[in-house]
Symmetry: C2
Subunit: 88 residues, 2 copies
């Protein structure tokens, strides 16, 4: 099952690693614990909307840019799933 938190985590991690930043640096700037950020990135914890904004801000990104990434990834994933189902 495709979960929103999984894709939000992927996008946040991709943005952070593209910037060459550590979990510690982003967690500090976002004022969240390193463990919390790590769990959010791995899709193991739902980020509250407020803390998601803090993390986006710490990464210098807008919420819309992260959610656009998420929407594109979800759409691509669902297209692949439909193709596999059609082929079955």
């Amino acid at each position: 099952m495709t979960l929103l938190r999984t894709h939000i985590g992927y996008s946040l991690r991709a943005a952070r690693t593209a910037q060459g930043r550590t979990l510690r640096s982003v967690a500090r700037d976002a004022r969240v614990s390193l463990g919390y950020l790590s769990e959010v990135e791995r899709g193991q914890k739902e980020a509250s909307s407020e803390l998601l904004n803090s993390i986006c801000s710490a990464l210098g990104l807008t919420l819309s840019s992260i959610m656009t990434d998420v929407a594109v990834e979800l759409t691509a994933r669902e297209a692949v799933t439909l193709t596999v189902v059609d082929a079955a």
Copy 2:
């Protein structure tokens, strides 16, 4: 502050009312309580990723379609905010 849960709530409510359906009907099909769905629609509660999938499924929508709506709305809202800031 723009919150993700507010925009998810708007999109879910817009989809439900466009289908002419009641909270009760969608909550029953999604196997969530009416109060929970109402709070999610009003942006007062964060929907867990699993229950968001159940609500999308009850509405006959994909998660990607709801999240694309959310991304478009967030982008439009941020553009308006930037315009107001520029004009100030």
